[in-house]
């Protein structure tokens, strides 16, 4: 008579293979509790594994931006302080020039003030922060301006001296400067002198800065200018004004000619101040955009982290429940196995 038949090997092996499987599941569940992620993320996600990688790629990019933006903010705030200083000095000097008395003290005040201010301007423009010359444009490893009254004479001073000599046939130190007419001086100040500060001559004699300011990427979609070049028109006008005031021998000029020069200096100073204000406004705009970008990127970071967590994370409570269930099952299977041992006819013979 054929009834359902079970062979001894099947009977004895049935708990064994099941226990092996449960034990490996138990090990996996334990690991998941500890790490909070799937024990084999690639296996779990399958073809979504690339998503996890992409999210992390984006996260790394945002971290890179956060790090560069910190450096950029430093440079912007140092630049802002320098610009404030330069503008303040220019405004004070403008007041001095306009209110200078007409006797011998007036011109002396102007000349001394201009010398000091030109040196101060040079120092400010040669400022460095974070190992960069911040006014060098993209040429940040070279100091932008050479000192005007360096010994031996700087190229700038030589250019001014030779232009003066060519026009007026005498050097600035001559005693016959009082014979220069206002019209002549006017002509000099409107043509030959400004030519010394145009693009070519400025880059040749005065500044080794690059005309390109540093462009930075502050987020994956925005690029802004984050530095000021010493070749900016405002600085050139200031340099022109200070040189005009200090090196054209105004103390020796006759009062009418001096008048012309002083008027020109005042014009230049106010125009330069306007330019500087505009530059500061642009920088302020950049600063604002950087802080907005930083806020946005913080939010993005949170979203990405949450995304990664959702994709790969495991609820530890659920994993613990699994561990408990598996432990109970394994124990039951152990007790069944030991009971099977006693289920043999031989014990009853």
């Amino acid at each position: 008579m054929k009834t359902t038949f079970i062979s001894t090997p099947t009977l004895w092996n049935s708990p064994r293979s099941a226990v092996a499987r449960m034990q490996s599941d138990l090990a996996k569940a334990n690991q998941e509790i500890v790490t909070g992620r799937y024990s084999d993320v690639g296996l779990q996600l399958g073809s979504r594994a690339g998503e996890g990688i992409s999210l992390r790629q984006e996260r790394a990019e945002i971290d890179a931006f956060a790090s560069s933006n910190a450096t950029i903010s430093l440079r912007l705030s140092v630049t802002k302080n320098s610009l404030d200083a330069i503008r303040g000095t220019a405004e004070t000097f403008l007041a001095t020039v306009v209110s200078a008395p007409d006797n011998e003290i007036g011109p002396k005040l102007i000349v001394d003030g201009a010398n000091a201010n030109l040196n101060a301007l040079t120092d400010e423009l040669n400022r460095s922060a974070g190992e960069q010359y911040i006014f060098g444009g993209t040429n940040t490893r070279e100091s932008p301006l050479k000192s005007y009254d360096a010994k031996p004479a700087s190229a700038a001073k030589n250019a001014v001296d030779s232009a003066f000599l060519i026009k007026f046939k005498v050097p600035q130190s001559s005693s016959s400067l009082s014979s220069i007419s206002p019209a002549d001086m006017e002509g000099f100040l409107n043509t030959e002198f400004p030519a010394l500060f145009d693009d070519t001559n400025w880059s040749k004699n005065w500044s080794s800065a690059s005309g390109e300011s540093i462009e930075s990427r502050i987020s994956s979609t925005e690029r802004v200018k984050t530095s000021v070049s010493a070749n900016d028109p405002g600085f050139r006008k200031l340099a022109m004004a200070y040189t005009m005031a200090s090196d054209l021998g105004i103390e020796k000029l006759n009062p009418d000619t001096r008048e012309v020069v002083v008027k020109k200096i005042a014009d230049l100073l106010s125009s330069a101040t306007n330019d500087l204000v505009k530059t500061q406004a642009t920088l302020g705009e950049s600063e604002r955009r950087i802080s907005n970008a930083a806020e946005r990127m913080n939010l993005q970071k949170d979203i990405l982290d949450k995304g990664i967590g959702r994709l790969e994370g495991v609820d530890p409570a659920e994993a613990k429940t699994r561990v408990d269930a598996l432990t109970t099952q394994i124990q039951m299977s152990y007790s069944l196995t030991s009971q099977l041992r006693n289920l043999s006819l031989l014990n009853y013979l």
Partner: protein, 495 residues
Amino acid sequence: MGLSLALNTARSSLLSSSAQMAVVSRNTTGATDPSYSRKIASLVTGGGTARVVVGRASDNALFFKMLETTSSAANEQAILEGVEKLSKTVGDTDLNGSSAARIGALNAALQEYANKPDDANLARAFLDRAKELTTTLNEATTTVQSVRQDADTAIKNSVDRINNLLAQFDTINKTVMRGTATGADITDDLDARDKILSQLSEEMGITVVTREGNDMAIFTDSGVPLYERIPRKVEFVPQSPYSATTKGAAVFVDGVQVTGKTSSMPLHSGALVGLVKVRDDIAVTYQSQLDEIARGLIETFAESDQKAPYDLPTLAGLFTYTGGPAMPPDPTPLGLAGQITINLRVDPAQGGSLERLRDGGINEAADPTLKDEYKYNPGPGTNAAFSGRLFELSEKLGAVRTYDPSFGLGENATLQGFAASSASWLEGSRKASVTSVDYRTTLLSHASEALSNATGVNMDDETAAMLQLEKSYSASAKLISVIDEMLRTLLDAVR
């Protein structure tokens, strides 16, 4: 006379009880052997004698089902082992060791460097990320080729095993045929023959035909004869070492090609099928995806002629390869991912200079009168914060490129996206493989259990049979002594 007949019958009853006891002890010995089938002692009585015929519990349908499931499980298992080794090149997403993650790190380093191009530390960091990327691609190529090599070696071992088993089968088959002809007890030989068949089915799918006189013929599941009167030769030429351009050889059974795309009678299951799939299909596809990534990197970071009339060729920049500085040809050369390397002209450790990353000029025109043809930085001076070239590189790295749709990863993707898709594809294959192996293994264990239940030994059953036999033996022995008594009584009466 009645008594002598009774005596003879009792004698043969004793013999048959002993024979049945022998069968019980054989069964008890083989109880835990999975390839042992239960021997059944059938008692044939007639004409005053009892004879024991030893038969064997067998179920052909279940047996062939088990062979089938063994082959499928072995097939999927071979594929899984190969894919698991390949997926080590992707690793856990948290470790950021995949080529996709390294490209992401390169991109981040490039961004930081582009925002402060005069910082030598950032330049150094960028170069280090680039080195890590080329190392990852090179090592991945090595892993892929070693997987192919391992598969090739495993195929060789499998083919050797098959040839061995066929030789053993030949011996056993002849024994079985001889035993059937002479009427001997061939049940143990039949067990051994079935065991060889199940070992054979692990290596390749087989179909079995039983012929006259218990002869067996074995065919592959595609119909090529493996054993017909004599064992057929299974041939395979292994290759070593493996490089990306090596083409693996096919397996030949009896002169017929049974693996590979050009085979007219290809195998359907068994470890051989899985191994060949890993060696010639999965690993090769993954290698070509890696090669495509390498190509993308070389093309993205290449330098073009910066001076009119812009007639000099585009040459390899930061990333170059053994065939550089010319651009890699179309179609992408096999194994490019193993050849990609950092250009010497950029690496300070090899006499290059880091500034060339920012300024260009990694390449120089062949004509010595042309200077700075490939220089991107216009100056003045060192122009150390020149970011134009770096931003250009960053944009190109994030640009969408076209890929061959035969990769199955879509036609348009950024380089990072393509690399991530490649990782997805691999992990997806692994997940599918694991599921498949689970399924097939379960089927196999069910089939094995069913077969075991039909043909296996139950110890309690045997023990109970043993008790019965003990009783019948003592009954026969008692009978003999009683008859002996009766005869003695008769003979005493005559004396």
